[in-house]
């Protein structure tokens, strides 16, 4: 292999794929980056067998070839080179890479590129949907945090992506809460398709989407084993989780006995204040809704927490309360998580009694639902 490219481009590509380089693995080749000539360009790829990132940079190719070398070492060396052309050379039938820029050069011992996992490419026969990158990023951020962090039920450690008609639905649940967000696809897909993507991979995808504006293409490989996302000159791959996602629609209450509407900022502040006291009491914050005294006076909700050892707090937030008075207790961390990803505005909390799941929704914005299981309120 003999290739030359700009230092700047190589540095950027190596930084981009570095997120997929495995740090701790028993398969040493996963700590490497793949450099391969590909149709007049240089392909740079890395994978940790959960996600894979492939990117292409312009290069002048004198001799075809491929090699894998330690990703960190190569990136560190390239980062310190001046902004000038860099020549990459591999002697035939050898696995060591010579990097040269002006008078600086390095020889990095590598591994046969054949040992590197085959990263599938986005090709014609895959299932393809197109979506706006900023919408997708938003959707991911509003859903992924609800996925389970322990691995006892692998399916729940993932985010469900459901393609149906002109809609993409993302859903995640960990047994105590559920986040569902719907978004528009650029054009309808022919059949319904479910894919469960690891939550870690979803976060990585959101990072790659960054401030992209061009529509991104999502594809599921024909054997339904991987999700491929094409973002500009970069392809992101995530392996899918095998299994069936629970039927989340059953969990979402259809209607609420009591509806509370209030400003998100004020409510989030009140919950944060209470959460400091709740820390020593299993993060329990109590919410008590009182209707206004007359028809046109606003109601209020009381957000309180107490820990026997530490003390207690009460905050009041103005809210419009419809329905009977209600009280319910939630885990403060769950409330802070969901209120944190909602934009400034009004939020709706729907309650059906203190033992039924509560729902958090942004007011006036369709498509996002967050369900939280209540905590038991003691006799207190």
């Amino acid at each position: 292999m003999k290739v030359s490219c700009l230092q700047e481009n190589l540095q950027r590509a190596l930084a981009q794929v570095s997120r997929a380089v495995a740090t701790k693995t028993s398969l040493p080749v996963l700590g490497n980056v793949l450099l391969a000539t590909d149709d007049g360009r240089l392909r740079v790829a890395a994978t940790n067998l959960e996600i894979g990132i492939t990117t292409w940079i312009g290069a002048s190719i004198e001799e075809e070839g491929k090699v894998t070398v330690d990703a960190r070492l190569l990136a560190e060396f390239v980062n310190t080179l001046p902004n000038a052309p860099v020549t990459l050379r591999v002697e035939p039938a050898k696995f060591s890479l010579n990097v040269q820029s002006g008078r600086d050069k390095a020889g990095i011992n590598g591994v046969d590129a054949e040992d590197f996992p085959v990263i599938p490419r986005l090709e014609g026969d895959a299932y393809v949907a197109t979506v706006d990158p900023q919408v997708l990023r938003d959707m991911i951020s509003q859903v992924e945090f609800a996925a389970a962090t322990d691995e006892s039920r692998p399916v729940l450690a993932g985010v469900l992506a459901r393609f149906e008609g002109q809609r993409l639905t993302l859903a995640a649940a960990d047994g105590f809460r559920l986040a569902v967000r719907e978004g528009e696809l650029a054009e309808p897909v022919p059949d319904r398709l479910d894919a469960i993507v690891p939550a870690r991979a979803m976060r990585e995808l959101a990072r790659i989407l960054g401030d992209q504006t061009e529509p991104v293409r999502l594809a599921i490989t024909p054997n339904q084993s991987q999700l491929l996302v094409r973002v500009g000159e970069t392809e992101f791959l995530s392996r899918l989780i095998d299994g069936t996602f629970p039927d989340y629609k059953q969990i979402i209450p259809k209607e609420f006995a009591t509806r509370l509407e209030m400003g998100r900022d004020a409510f989030l502040n009140a919950v944060r204040r209470a959460s400091y006291f709740a820390r020593d009491n299993n993060d329990v914050v109590r919410i008590e809704a009182r209707a206004g005294e007359e028809e046109f006076t606003p109601g209020s909700i009381e957000v309180s927490a107490n820990a026997a050892e530490r003390g207690s707090s009460q905050s009041f937030v103005d809210a419009s309360v419809s329905g009977p008075e209600a009280q319910i207790a939630f885990n403060s961390r769950y409330l802070v998580d969901v209120l944190g990803v909602l934009r400034n505005g009004q939020v709706l909390i729907g309650v059906n009694g203190s033992n039924q799941a509560g729902v958090v929704q942004p007011v006036g914005l369709e498509g996002y639902t967050h369900v939280i299981m209540p905590m038991v309120i003691g006799a207190n």
Binding site: L27, L49, E114, P154
Partner: protein
């Protein structure tokens, strides 16, 4: 993550393809069954390969994985992997992303701090396995997960594995490798297809070595010492030190039984004191001892054909002539009793001394 199966034969002397089609010598019935299940597409979701160390568990599992993942669509028998396609080569080298091995070696490699002792598969390893098995395949149509040293799992680790065994993802084939199937919970055994690997005949082991280019005479000696374990035979053929160590162990055992009652007791005390720190070595020594007494019995009964330690036959023959069959039989029984006593946590020094005192006295009766 995938890693080279550590139990696999990795020496200059590698097994060639055996008459049963796989590079697995002996175990013909097992290979035929596995080949048939691959060919007919009726593959169970979990297997338990059980048999002594070196009998061929890992080799069998690697061949099975190759048969399941081989990319050569034109091969006449789907149960027979081509051995040359990318998938087959990657599996043989232990770098296939869809053939992952979890075992003590992999656990040590991934451990936070190196150098720690890894005597049993931990619950963390089992959890890592569970989350790794949840993913769909990367390159092949299936994923094969090998669990080496499965018998070392403690109760909680085994219970954690049960969950994966109960609801395995559709694309996964789990293969547990255990020296002793009985060490696993009945609930685990009942969820796996049990594949019992028995010691391979001496002739087959010798043939396997000859086919791989080992000289006839050496092959015969190694095969006799291997005790029906082709894996051990291949390791010994590629590693003279291993063979030498075995010969030295036999010499030690011979020296022990040739000594006077006093010498025997001194040796017994020494071995008994070493038991706590080097349990496995003491067991290996007693095992060798059992073989030597057995050989003495065989020599006395004029059955030299079945000898394990041919190289030492002459010296042993001189000893054996001094004792009658009954005495030799009692000695063999004494060693066996000692082994089971040690398993049952009898005080090692006591168990070994009691054994020594039941041996026939070394002064010839003639």
């Amino acid at each position: 993550m995938a890693r080279p199966p550590s139990g696999a034969v990795k020496t200059a002397v590698a097994p060639t393809r055996s008459p049963n089609g796989w590079p697995v010598w002996g175990h013909d019935v097992v290979v035929a069954k596995l080949r048939h299940s691959v060919a007919s597409g009726r593959v169970a979701h979990a297997y338990l390969f059980a048999g002594p160390d070196g009998v061929g568990k890992t080799t069998l599992a690697v061949s099975f994985a190759q048969a399941l993942c081989c990319q050569d669509g034109t091969r006449p028998d789907p149960g027979l992997p081509c051995g040359t396609c990318l998938a087959c080569r990657k599996i043989a080298r232990g770098v296939h992303p869809d053939v992952e091995t979890f075992g003590l070696a992999a656990q040590a490699a991934l451990a936070e701090k190196s150098g720690g002792k890894h005597l049993s598969l931990s619950i963390e390893t089992v959890r890592r396995l569970a989350s790794a098995t949840a993913l769909r395949p990367m390159e092949a149509g299936r994923r094969i997960v090998l669990v080496e040293d499965a018998e070392t799992m403690q109760g909680v680790a085994q219970e954690a594995l049960l969950k994966t065994l109960e609801e395995p993802p559709s694309s996964v084939v789990l293969v547990l490798l255990a020296d002793d199937a009985e060490a696993l919970l009945p609930t685990i055994r009942s969820r796996c297809r049990l594949v019992d690997l028995r010691p391979v005949s001496r002739a087959t082991v010798a043939l396997a070595l000859v086919e791989s280019g080992v000289a006839q005479e050496q092959a015969a000696e190694i095969a006799a010492l291997a005790g029906g374990r082709p894996g051990w035979a291949f390791r010994a053929a590629g590693d003279p030190a291993l063979l030498e160590g075995r010969r030295a162990a036999v010499d030690r055992a011979l020296g022990w039984i040739a000594g006077s009652t006093y010498d025997r007791l001194v040796a017994a005390v020494r071995l008994g004191d070493a038991f706590q720190k080097r349990r496995a070595e003491v067991f290996a020594d007693l095992d060798t001892l059992l073989g030597v007494w057995r050989d003495a019995l065989l020599l006395r009964a004029n059955l030299p054909h079945y000898l394990t330690y041919r190289g030492h036959a002459e010296r042993l023959d001189g000893l054996a002539r001094g004792w009658d069959l009954d005495a030799l039989h009692r000695a063999v029984c004494a060693v066996q009793t000692c082994l089971s006593d040690l398993e049952a946590n009898v005080r090692p020094r006591l168990a070994i001394e009691a054994m020594v005192l039941q041996w026939p006295t070394s002064s010839p009766q003639r």
